[in-house]
Each structure stands twice: as structure tokens, then as C-alpha cells.
């Protein structure tokens, strides 16, 4: 494994942690993307504008990445749309039922040494690993 394969993920992680940490330090908010999205689309939470702005920033940042390093995005996603719809529904329901996702529990929760988040992370990583095993090694392996 070469140096950039180790350093780039670390650097990316530091930027994610920095962004989340600054959101807390400056605005007092937890950078849990599922919560930010949920709040923005439900429109029932007061002052949704910062959420919409954060999401817009995600997309703007994405555009920058696509321009500078398009290889960071997948070129082909071979499963048919219903597969993605099913996965999306599960991620949407699960992240809200469980009060967080990889950013909320994984980054912010673990960063705060939250036992609740540790339980969540251990659960979703384990289940996801089993899911990958089933979908990639048992049911007609896909990339």
C-alpha cells in the first residue's frame, strides 16, 4: 500500500472532522447528515435555512470534486433502480429511527465518546458487512 492510499483517506477524514467540528463551534449544531436532511425536507423544524444551506454546500462541494477529480465518483452502478430505491428507503427509515448515520453517530457520536453511538456504529457496521456478504458472495456477486 503506498503513502497516498493511506494519507488521502486520513486527510479526507480530517476535513470531515473539521467541518463537523466547526459546525459545532460556530453554530452549535451536530453534523449528522441524516438529521440535517430530515430537518430540511420536513420543514416543520424552525429555522430550516441553515440545513438547506449545508445541503446546498454538500452539492456545491460535490461539483468541485467532480470538476477536479471526477474519478472520485462511480462510473457505473450496475444494479437496477428498484435496488437503489429499496436501499434508499432502508437508509432513510433506519437513519431516522436510529437517530443518526455514519456522520451523526460515527463521527460526532464517537468523537464525543458516546456509548449510544458506539452501539449504533457497531450494529450498523456488522449488519452492513453481513449484507455485503449476502449480496456480493451469495446472491450472484456484483462488483
Amino acid at each position: 500500500m503506498n503513502a497516498s492510499a493511506l494519507l488521502l483517506p486520513l486527510a479526507g477524514g480530517v476535513l470531515i472532522g473539521l467541518s463537523s467540528g466547526l459546525l459545532l463551534l460556530l453554530s452549535g449544531k451536530i453534523a449528522g447528515i441524516s438529521g440535517i436532511l430530515d430537518g430540511a425536507v420536513s420543514l416543520r423544524v424552525g429555522r430550516w435555512s441553515w440545513r438547506a444551506a449545508f445541503l446546498a454546500g454538500l452539492i456545491a462541494g460535490g461539483a468541485a470534486v467532480a470538476f477536479i477529480a471526477p474519478q472520485r465518483f462511480p462510473t457505473s452502478l450496475p444494479q437496477p433502480p428498484p435496488y437503489w430505491i429499496g436501499a434508499g428507503l432502508l437508509v432513510g427509515v433506519g437513519s431516522r429511527l436510529g437517530s443518526g448515520c455514519t456522520s451523526g453517530h460515527g463521527v460526532c457520536g464517537l468523537g464525543r465518546f458516546s456509548v449510544r453511538s458506539l452501539v449504533s456504529v457497531c450494529t450498523f457496521v456488522t449488519v452492513a458487512a453481513v449484507t455485503v456478504y449476502v449480496t456480493r458472495h451469495m446472491i450472484g456477486g456484483a462488483p
Binding site: 480530517v14 420536513s42 449545508f54 452502478l77 430505491i85 433506519g94 448515520c101 449510544r116 452492513a128
Partner: protein, 156 residues
Amino acid sequence: MIAVLVAFLLGALFAIGLGIGSMTLPAKIIGFLDVTGAWDPSLVLVLGGAVVTYAVMYRMAIGRGRPLFADAYVLPGQNRIDVPLVAGAAIFGIGWGMSGFCPGPAIVALVTGKTEVLSFVAAMIVGMWLHDGIAAWRQREASAAANLPVTGSADG
């Protein structure tokens, strides 16, 4: 206004971090989760970098007592490990394992305009609405039950 601008810039920074860490590539996530296959440790490195950085900044934030541009920190109040936490994590885990996408990278990947990503994000939003709707309904039912008038005899 500052809150909106700050949020926008931090969202962009978050996305750039995801991109640099290649977390916008489902194959990288699947590679990490594929414990019996050719294992890709990228996600651990990304998470490690993120958690350590956040932990330091969290300490700084708590030490300050209040945010720079807001009145107070809005932190999760829940401490219990309950069924919704674990069930939600499991359900999320299946979707994440199927797709290699979680909310952040999926939203960032919208810039590709790919049908699969659009479908995923749309379905994710629908899933959130579904959960919120059911949760709100259950809360209304619970309130209604708690507010039922006492009906007279103990044998009711």
C-alpha cells in the same frame, strides 16, 4: 445570514473531505465491508481522521461554553440504548450494505446525475417522511390515550 453562509461553506468542506477520502465511491465502502474479500481499509482511515479531529474540536467547543455565532449547543439529549437505536441501526446497515451509500455521500453524488443516485436519494427522503409520519402518529395516539377522561367505575 452568517449561519446560512457558514453552513454552506462547511457543507462544501464536508463534501470535499468525502471526495478526498474517496467515500463518494460505493466500491470503497463495499470494499471495507467486504471482510471476506479484498479488504479496503479506506473507511477506517477516514473515520479515524474524522473522529480524532472532531474529538479535539468537541473538547474546544465544550470548553468555550457556547458557540461563536449561536446561543447554545444543540446536543443530543438521549443517553439510553433502546430498541429504536438498535433497530434503526440494523435497518440502516442493510441499506448501506446494499448500496455503499449513506446520506452524505449520496447527496454529494447527486452531481453525477445518475438515475441510481437520484432514485436512492429520493427513496431516502421518502423513507424519512415515512418514519417521521409514523412517529408523529404514534405520538398523537400516545397523547390521546394519556388524555382519556376517567370513566367512573373501577371495572370500567
